[in-house]
Amino acid sequence: MKLTRQQFLTRSGIQGQTLELWLEQSWLLPEDTPAGPMFSDIDTARAAFIRDLQRDFGANDDSVGVILHLVDQLHGMRLALSLLRQHMQDDGPAPSASTERDH
Protein backbone atom coordinates (compact mmCIF):
# COMPACT_ATOMS: atom_id res chain seq x y z
CA MET A 1 0.00 0.00 0.00
CA LYS A 2 1.30 3.45 -0.87
CA LEU A 3 1.04 6.25 1.65
CA THR A 4 1.16 9.99 1.16
CA ARG A 5 3.46 12.04 3.32
CA GLN A 6 0.66 12.78 5.81
CA GLN A 7 -0.46 9.16 5.99
CA PHE A 8 3.10 8.07 6.45
CA LEU A 9 3.67 10.47 9.33
CA THR A 10 0.54 9.21 11.07
CA ARG A 11 1.40 5.58 10.47
CA SER A 12 5.03 5.77 11.53
CA GLY A 13 4.52 8.24 14.34
CA ILE A 14 7.42 10.48 13.42
CA GLN A 15 7.45 14.25 13.23
CA GLY A 16 7.38 16.12 9.95
CA GLN A 17 10.62 17.82 10.84
CA THR A 18 12.28 14.50 11.59
CA LEU A 19 11.09 13.13 8.28
CA GLU A 20 12.66 16.10 6.46
CA LEU A 21 15.95 15.35 8.16
CA TRP A 22 15.79 11.68 7.22
CA LEU A 23 14.96 12.50 3.62
CA GLU A 24 17.85 14.93 3.52
CA GLN A 25 20.22 12.16 4.65
CA SER A 26 18.67 9.78 2.11
CA TRP A 27 17.79 7.41 4.91
CA LEU A 28 14.39 7.14 3.29
CA LEU A 29 13.83 7.09 -0.44
CA PRO A 30 10.11 7.41 -1.12
CA GLU A 31 8.89 7.12 -4.67
CA ASP A 32 8.78 10.45 -6.45
CA THR A 33 5.41 11.02 -8.06
CA PRO A 34 3.70 14.08 -9.51
CA ALA A 35 1.44 14.01 -6.46
CA GLY A 36 4.47 14.20 -4.16
CA PRO A 37 6.44 11.48 -2.40
CA MET A 38 4.69 8.16 -1.91
CA PHE A 39 5.80 5.80 0.85
CA SER A 40 5.64 2.00 0.68
CA ASP A 41 5.58 -0.62 3.38
CA ILE A 42 9.33 -0.97 3.13
CA ASP A 43 9.72 2.74 3.96
CA THR A 44 7.45 2.37 6.98
CA ALA A 45 9.41 -0.63 8.20
CA ARG A 46 12.69 1.18 7.63
CA ALA A 47 11.42 4.20 9.57
CA ALA A 48 10.57 1.89 12.47
CA PHE A 49 14.08 0.46 12.32
CA ILE A 50 15.63 3.93 12.38
CA ARG A 51 13.42 4.85 15.30
CA ASP A 52 14.51 1.68 17.16
CA LEU A 53 18.13 2.57 16.51
CA GLN A 54 17.71 6.08 17.86
CA ARG A 55 15.33 5.50 20.70
CA ASP A 56 16.25 2.04 21.95
CA PHE A 57 19.91 1.89 21.05
CA GLY A 58 20.75 5.53 21.57
CA ALA A 59 22.42 5.73 18.16
CA ASN A 60 23.13 9.31 17.09
CA ASP A 61 22.64 10.56 13.54
CA ASP A 62 26.15 9.66 12.44
CA SER A 63 25.84 6.13 13.77
CA VAL A 64 22.44 5.66 12.16
CA GLY A 65 23.95 6.59 8.79
CA VAL A 66 26.77 4.09 9.24
CA ILE A 67 24.45 1.34 10.46
CA LEU A 68 22.03 1.84 7.56
CA HIS A 69 24.89 1.78 5.09
CA LEU A 70 26.18 -1.51 6.47
CA VAL A 71 22.72 -3.03 6.74
CA ASP A 72 22.00 -2.06 3.12
CA GLN A 73 25.18 -3.79 2.04
CA LEU A 74 24.24 -6.81 4.08
CA HIS A 75 20.89 -7.01 2.37
CA GLY A 76 22.49 -6.59 -1.02
CA MET A 77 24.78 -9.45 -0.15
CA ARG A 78 21.92 -11.58 1.10
CA LEU A 79 19.92 -10.93 -2.04
CA ALA A 80 22.90 -11.81 -4.21
CA LEU A 81 23.48 -14.98 -2.26
CA SER A 82 19.88 -16.09 -2.51
CA LEU A 83 19.81 -15.42 -6.24
CA LEU A 84 23.09 -17.25 -6.58
CA ARG A 85 21.70 -20.24 -4.74
CA GLN A 86 18.58 -20.18 -6.86
CA HIS A 87 20.63 -19.89 -10.02
CA MET A 88 22.78 -22.85 -9.06
CA GLN A 89 19.67 -24.90 -8.44
CA ASP A 90 18.13 -23.85 -11.74
CA ASP A 91 21.10 -24.12 -14.01
CA GLY A 92 23.43 -26.65 -12.50
CA PRO A 93 27.16 -26.03 -12.53
CA ALA A 94 28.94 -22.83 -13.31
CA PRO A 95 29.09 -21.62 -16.90
CA SER A 96 32.38 -21.98 -18.74
CA ALA A 97 34.80 -19.14 -19.25
CA SER A 98 34.52 -16.42 -21.83
CA THR A 99 35.82 -18.13 -24.96
CA GLU A 100 34.56 -21.62 -25.06
CA ARG A 101 35.27 -24.34 -27.47
CA ASP A 102 32.50 -26.80 -28.03
CA HIS A 103 33.80 -30.16 -28.93
Binding site: T44, R46, A48, F57, H75, G76, A94, P95, R101
Partner: protein
Protein backbone atom coordinates in the same frame (compact mmCIF):
# COMPACT_ATOMS: atom_id res chain seq x y z
CA UNK B 1 5.09 -14.13 29.78
CA UNK B 2 8.16 -14.46 31.94
CA UNK B 3 9.08 -12.02 34.63
CA UNK B 4 10.40 -8.94 32.82
CA UNK B 5 13.31 -8.58 35.24
CA UNK B 6 14.41 -12.11 34.40
CA UNK B 7 13.98 -11.48 30.72
CA UNK B 8 16.35 -8.55 30.90
CA UNK B 9 18.57 -10.26 33.45
CA UNK B 10 18.45 -7.45 36.01
CA UNK B 11 17.61 -7.32 39.69
CA UNK B 12 14.15 -6.08 40.72
CA UNK B 13 15.91 -3.16 42.37
CA UNK B 14 17.81 -2.21 39.19
CA UNK B 15 17.98 1.47 38.29
CA UNK B 16 16.47 2.84 35.10
CA UNK B 17 19.98 3.16 33.64
CA UNK B 18 20.78 -0.45 34.43
CA UNK B 19 17.55 -1.54 32.79
CA UNK B 20 18.27 0.50 29.69
CA UNK B 21 21.81 -0.78 29.43
CA UNK B 22 20.70 -4.40 29.90
CA UNK B 23 18.08 -3.93 27.22
CA UNK B 24 20.50 -2.38 24.75
CA UNK B 25 22.96 -5.17 25.27
CA UNK B 26 20.33 -7.80 24.51
CA UNK B 27 18.59 -5.89 21.74
CA UNK B 28 21.83 -5.42 19.83
CA UNK B 29 22.15 -9.16 19.63
CA UNK B 30 18.49 -9.82 18.97
CA UNK B 31 17.03 -6.98 16.92
CA UNK B 32 15.84 -8.70 13.74
CA UNK B 33 17.05 -5.87 11.55
CA UNK B 34 20.54 -6.25 12.92
CA UNK B 35 20.33 -10.03 12.49
CA UNK B 36 18.55 -10.46 9.17
CA UNK B 37 19.46 -14.12 8.88
CA UNK B 38 18.52 -15.24 12.37
CA UNK B 39 14.96 -16.54 12.28
CA UNK B 40 14.82 -17.10 16.03
CA UNK B 41 15.84 -13.57 16.88
CA UNK B 42 12.41 -12.07 16.36
CA UNK B 43 10.55 -13.91 19.11
CA UNK B 44 13.26 -13.32 21.67
CA UNK B 45 13.53 -9.67 20.67
CA UNK B 46 9.82 -9.14 21.10
CA UNK B 47 10.01 -10.63 24.55
CA UNK B 48 12.97 -8.45 25.52
CA UNK B 49 11.43 -5.33 24.00
CA UNK B 50 8.16 -6.03 25.78
CA UNK B 51 9.96 -6.35 29.10
CA UNK B 52 11.79 -3.11 28.41
CA UNK B 53 8.60 -1.30 27.41
CA UNK B 54 7.10 -2.28 30.73
CA UNK B 55 10.08 -1.55 32.94
CA UNK B 56 11.22 1.63 31.21
CA UNK B 57 7.86 3.24 31.84
CA UNK B 58 8.09 4.35 35.47
CA UNK B 59 4.34 4.30 36.03
CA UNK B 60 3.88 0.85 34.52
CA UNK B 61 6.87 -0.48 36.41
CA UNK B 62 5.40 0.80 39.67
CA UNK B 63 2.10 -0.90 38.99
CA UNK B 64 3.82 -4.13 38.05
CA UNK B 65 5.97 -4.05 41.18
CA UNK B 66 2.81 -3.47 43.24
CA UNK B 67 1.20 -6.47 41.62
CA UNK B 68 -1.52 -4.38 40.03
CA UNK B 69 -0.68 -5.61 36.53
CA UNK B 70 1.13 -8.65 35.29
CA UNK B 71 3.46 -9.01 32.38
CA UNK B 72 0.92 -10.59 30.07
CA UNK B 73 0.33 -8.69 26.88
CA UNK B 74 3.53 -6.81 27.40
CA UNK B 75 5.14 -8.44 24.39
CA UNK B 76 5.84 -5.63 22.00
CA UNK B 77 3.47 -5.60 19.10
CA UNK B 78 6.07 -4.68 16.61
CA UNK B 79 5.19 -3.61 13.14
CA UNK B 80 6.84 -5.67 10.44
CA UNK B 81 10.56 -5.56 10.62
CA UNK B 82 12.55 -3.91 7.93
CA UNK B 83 14.31 -7.16 7.11
CA UNK B 84 11.02 -8.71 6.04
CA UNK B 85 10.85 -6.24 3.17
CA UNK B 86 14.52 -5.80 2.48
CA UNK B 87 15.10 -9.49 1.97
CA UNK B 88 12.36 -10.31 -0.38
CA UNK B 89 12.29 -8.00 -3.32
CA UNK B 90 14.17 -6.65 -6.25
CA UNK B 91 12.49 -3.31 -5.91
CA UNK B 92 14.22 -2.54 -2.66
CA UNK B 93 15.71 0.88 -3.43
CA UNK B 94 18.05 0.71 -0.46
CA UNK B 95 19.94 -2.43 -1.30
CA UNK B 96 23.58 -1.65 -1.88
CA UNK B 97 25.99 -3.64 -3.96
CA UNK B 98 29.01 -1.85 -2.66
CA UNK B 99 29.76 -4.71 -0.29
CA UNK B 100 30.46 -7.14 -3.09
CA UNK B 101 30.59 -5.43 -6.47
CA UNK B 102 34.28 -6.34 -6.69
CA UNK B 103 33.22 -9.99 -6.83
CA UNK B 104 31.39 -9.30 -10.07
CA UNK B 105 34.28 -7.67 -11.90
CA UNK B 106 36.29 -10.81 -12.45
CA UNK B 107 36.53 -12.89 -15.58
CA UNK B 108 36.19 -16.22 -13.86
CA UNK B 109 33.25 -18.56 -13.67
CA UNK B 110 32.29 -17.41 -10.19
CA UNK B 111 32.02 -13.78 -11.25
CA UNK B 112 29.98 -14.79 -14.25
CA UNK B 113 27.61 -16.77 -12.08
CA UNK B 114 27.39 -13.83 -9.74
CA UNK B 115 26.57 -11.44 -12.58
CA UNK B 116 23.94 -13.76 -13.94
CA UNK B 117 22.38 -14.23 -10.54
CA UNK B 118 22.12 -10.46 -10.26
CA UNK B 119 19.74 -10.29 -13.17
CA UNK B 120 16.48 -10.27 -11.37
CA UNK B 121 13.73 -12.57 -12.37
CA UNK B 122 11.62 -9.76 -13.74
CA UNK B 123 14.44 -9.07 -16.15
CA UNK B 124 15.42 -11.44 -18.87
CA UNK B 125 18.82 -11.72 -20.47
CA UNK B 126 18.77 -11.24 -24.23
CA UNK B 127 18.72 -14.16 -26.61
CA UNK B 128 21.89 -15.53 -28.12
CA UNK B 129 22.52 -14.84 -31.79
CA UNK B 130 23.97 -17.45 -34.07
CA UNK B 131 26.36 -16.81 -36.91
CA UNK B 132 28.47 -18.87 -39.28
CA UNK B 133 31.93 -17.71 -40.18
CA UNK B 134 34.09 -19.31 -42.89
CA UNK B 135 37.81 -19.02 -42.27
CA UNK B 136 40.86 -20.25 -44.14
CA UNK B 137 42.70 -23.34 -43.03
CA UNK B 138 45.74 -21.21 -42.19
CA UNK B 139 43.65 -18.92 -39.94
CA UNK B 140 42.18 -21.94 -38.19
CA UNK B 141 45.69 -23.03 -37.19
CA UNK B 142 47.33 -19.69 -36.51
CA UNK B 143 44.32 -17.77 -35.25
CA UNK B 144 43.20 -14.45 -36.68
CA UNK B 145 41.20 -11.33 -36.10
CA UNK B 146 38.38 -10.76 -38.49
CA UNK B 147 35.11 -8.93 -38.84
CA UNK B 148 31.66 -10.26 -39.24
CA UNK B 149 29.18 -8.08 -41.09
CA UNK B 150 25.85 -8.16 -39.33
CA UNK B 151 22.63 -8.60 -41.31
CA UNK B 152 21.22 -5.34 -39.95
CA UNK B 153 24.42 -3.48 -40.68
CA UNK B 154 27.36 -2.89 -38.45
CA UNK B 155 30.22 -5.20 -37.80
CA UNK B 156 31.37 -7.53 -35.11
CA UNK B 157 35.05 -7.96 -34.35
CA UNK B 158 35.86 -11.60 -33.95
CA UNK B 159 39.09 -12.88 -32.52
CA UNK B 160 39.67 -16.41 -33.68
CA UNK B 161 41.83 -18.36 -31.27
CA UNK B 162 44.46 -20.59 -32.86
CA UNK B 163 43.72 -24.27 -33.36
CA UNK B 164 39.99 -24.23 -34.04
CA UNK B 165 38.46 -27.07 -35.99
CA UNK B 166 35.54 -27.06 -38.34
CA UNK B 167 32.21 -26.72 -36.48
CA UNK B 168 33.60 -25.22 -33.28
CA UNK B 169 31.82 -22.26 -31.75
CA UNK B 170 33.16 -19.00 -30.45
CA UNK B 171 31.12 -17.19 -27.83
CA UNK B 172 31.24 -13.41 -27.76
CA UNK B 173 29.88 -12.29 -24.44
CA UNK B 174 27.16 -9.66 -24.57
CA UNK B 175 27.04 -9.44 -28.38
CA UNK B 176 23.64 -11.08 -28.71
CA UNK B 177 20.18 -9.59 -28.46
CA UNK B 178 19.70 -6.92 -25.79
CA UNK B 179 18.03 -8.03 -22.58
CA UNK B 180 15.13 -6.47 -20.71
CA UNK B 181 15.38 -4.67 -17.42
CA UNK B 182 18.67 -5.40 -15.77
CA UNK B 183 19.07 -8.59 -17.80
CA UNK B 184 22.23 -8.21 -19.82
CA UNK B 185 22.43 -8.89 -23.54
CA UNK B 186 22.78 -12.42 -24.83
CA UNK B 187 25.88 -13.76 -26.49
CA UNK B 188 26.89 -14.08 -30.10
CA UNK B 189 27.62 -17.70 -30.96
CA UNK B 190 29.79 -18.01 -34.04
CA UNK B 191 30.16 -21.38 -35.64
CA UNK B 192 33.45 -21.68 -37.44
CA UNK B 193 33.58 -23.23 -40.86
CA UNK B 194 37.12 -24.10 -41.85
CA UNK B 195 37.56 -23.92 -45.63
CA UNK B 196 39.52 -26.95 -46.84
CA UNK B 197 43.02 -26.39 -48.18
CA UNK B 198 43.94 -28.98 -50.83
CA UNK B 199 47.46 -29.24 -49.49
CA UNK B 200 46.68 -29.94 -45.86
CA UNK B 201 44.69 -32.55 -43.97
CA UNK B 202 44.19 -32.13 -40.27
CA UNK B 203 44.21 -35.18 -38.06
CA UNK B 204 43.71 -34.23 -34.43
CA UNK B 205 46.47 -31.80 -33.63
CA UNK B 206 48.68 -33.05 -36.45
CA UNK B 207 48.62 -31.82 -40.02
CA UNK B 208 49.27 -34.19 -42.89
CA UNK B 209 50.70 -33.12 -46.18
CA UNK B 210 51.76 -35.03 -49.32
CA UNK B 211 54.99 -33.52 -50.59
CA UNK B 212 56.25 -34.24 -54.10
CA UNK B 213 60.04 -34.60 -54.28
CA UNK B 214 62.34 -35.00 -57.22
CA UNK B 215 64.21 -38.21 -57.94
CA UNK B 216 67.45 -36.44 -57.16
CA UNK B 217 66.30 -35.30 -53.69
CA UNK B 218 64.93 -38.77 -52.98
CA UNK B 219 68.11 -40.59 -53.96
CA UNK B 220 70.74 -38.15 -52.83
CA UNK B 221 68.93 -36.30 -50.07
CA UNK B 222 68.74 -32.52 -49.81
CA UNK B 223 67.08 -29.52 -48.27
CA UNK B 224 63.66 -28.60 -49.60
CA UNK B 225 61.01 -26.00 -48.77
CA UNK B 226 57.81 -27.31 -47.23
CA UNK B 227 54.62 -25.29 -46.89
CA UNK B 228 53.06 -25.25 -43.42
CA UNK B 229 49.94 -23.51 -42.19
CA UNK B 230 52.11 -20.76 -40.76
CA UNK B 231 54.47 -20.32 -43.73
CA UNK B 232 57.10 -22.36 -45.56
CA UNK B 233 60.01 -23.95 -43.71
CA UNK B 234 63.13 -25.77 -44.85
CA UNK B 235 63.32 -29.49 -44.24
CA UNK B 236 66.10 -32.02 -44.77
CA UNK B 237 65.21 -35.04 -46.86
CA UNK B 238 67.55 -37.89 -45.95
CA UNK B 239 69.41 -39.72 -48.63
CA UNK B 240 67.51 -42.70 -50.04
CA UNK B 241 64.03 -41.50 -49.11
CA UNK B 242 61.26 -43.37 -50.81
CA UNK B 243 57.70 -42.48 -51.75
CA UNK B 244 55.64 -42.89 -48.60
CA UNK B 245 58.46 -41.92 -46.25
CA UNK B 246 57.01 -39.91 -43.37
CA UNK B 247 58.98 -37.00 -42.03
CA UNK B 248 57.92 -35.09 -38.95
CA UNK B 249 58.11 -31.34 -38.49
CA UNK B 250 57.87 -30.96 -34.74
CA UNK B 251 55.50 -28.31 -33.46
CA UNK B 252 54.25 -27.30 -36.90
CA UNK B 253 50.79 -28.76 -36.34
CA UNK B 254 47.77 -27.22 -34.66
CA UNK B 255 48.05 -25.71 -31.17
CA UNK B 256 46.88 -28.13 -28.52
CA UNK B 257 44.48 -27.21 -25.80
CA UNK B 258 46.52 -26.58 -22.76
CA UNK B 259 49.74 -25.71 -24.54
CA UNK B 260 52.11 -27.13 -27.07
CA UNK B 261 51.38 -27.97 -30.67
CA UNK B 262 50.92 -31.01 -32.82
CA UNK B 263 53.34 -31.86 -35.62
CA UNK B 264 53.22 -31.62 -39.35
CA UNK B 265 53.65 -35.01 -40.94
CA UNK B 266 55.18 -34.85 -44.40
CA UNK B 267 54.63 -37.82 -46.67
CA UNK B 268 57.10 -37.87 -49.52
CA UNK B 269 55.93 -38.65 -53.02
CA UNK B 270 58.78 -39.25 -55.43
CA UNK B 271 57.97 -37.75 -58.80
CA UNK B 272 59.83 -38.41 -62.04
CA UNK B 273 60.54 -35.55 -64.42
CA UNK B 274 57.41 -34.33 -66.11
CA UNK B 275 58.79 -34.96 -69.60
CA UNK B 276 60.69 -38.15 -70.36
CA UNK B 277 64.41 -37.55 -70.01
CA UNK B 278 66.62 -39.39 -72.49
CA UNK B 279 69.67 -39.18 -70.26
CA UNK B 280 67.80 -40.72 -67.31
CA UNK B 281 66.46 -43.45 -69.57
CA UNK B 282 69.94 -44.25 -70.82
CA UNK B 283 71.29 -44.31 -67.26
CA UNK B 284 68.57 -46.59 -65.90
CA UNK B 285 68.89 -48.85 -68.95
CA UNK B 286 72.54 -49.35 -68.06
CA UNK B 287 71.92 -49.50 -64.29
CA UNK B 288 68.86 -51.71 -63.96
CA UNK B 289 70.05 -55.10 -65.29
CA UNK B 290 72.77 -55.35 -62.67
CA UNK B 291 70.61 -53.94 -59.82
CA UNK B 292 67.22 -55.55 -60.31
CA UNK B 293 64.90 -55.60 -57.28
CA UNK B 294 61.25 -56.47 -56.79
CA UNK B 295 59.43 -53.75 -54.74
CA UNK B 296 56.17 -55.70 -54.54
CA UNK B 297 54.87 -59.08 -53.54
CA UNK B 298 54.93 -61.54 -56.42
CA UNK B 299 51.45 -62.71 -57.32
Amino acid sequence: MKNPYEVLGVAPAASADEIQSAYRKLAKKLHPDLNPGDAGAEDRFKEVAGAYDLLSDAAKRKRFDAGEIDASGAERQHQHFYRDYAARNHENPYTSRSGFSDFMDGDDAFAELFRRSQRSRASRPGADRHFRLPISFADSIAGASTRLTLPEGGQLDVKIPPGLTDGQTIRLKGKGEPGTGTGGPGDALIEIEVMPDPRFTREGDDILIDLPVSLGDAVLGGKIRVPTATGAVTMSVPKGSNSGTMLRLKGKGAPKRGGGSGDQLVKLVVVLPRTPDPELEAFVAGWAPAHSYVPREEA
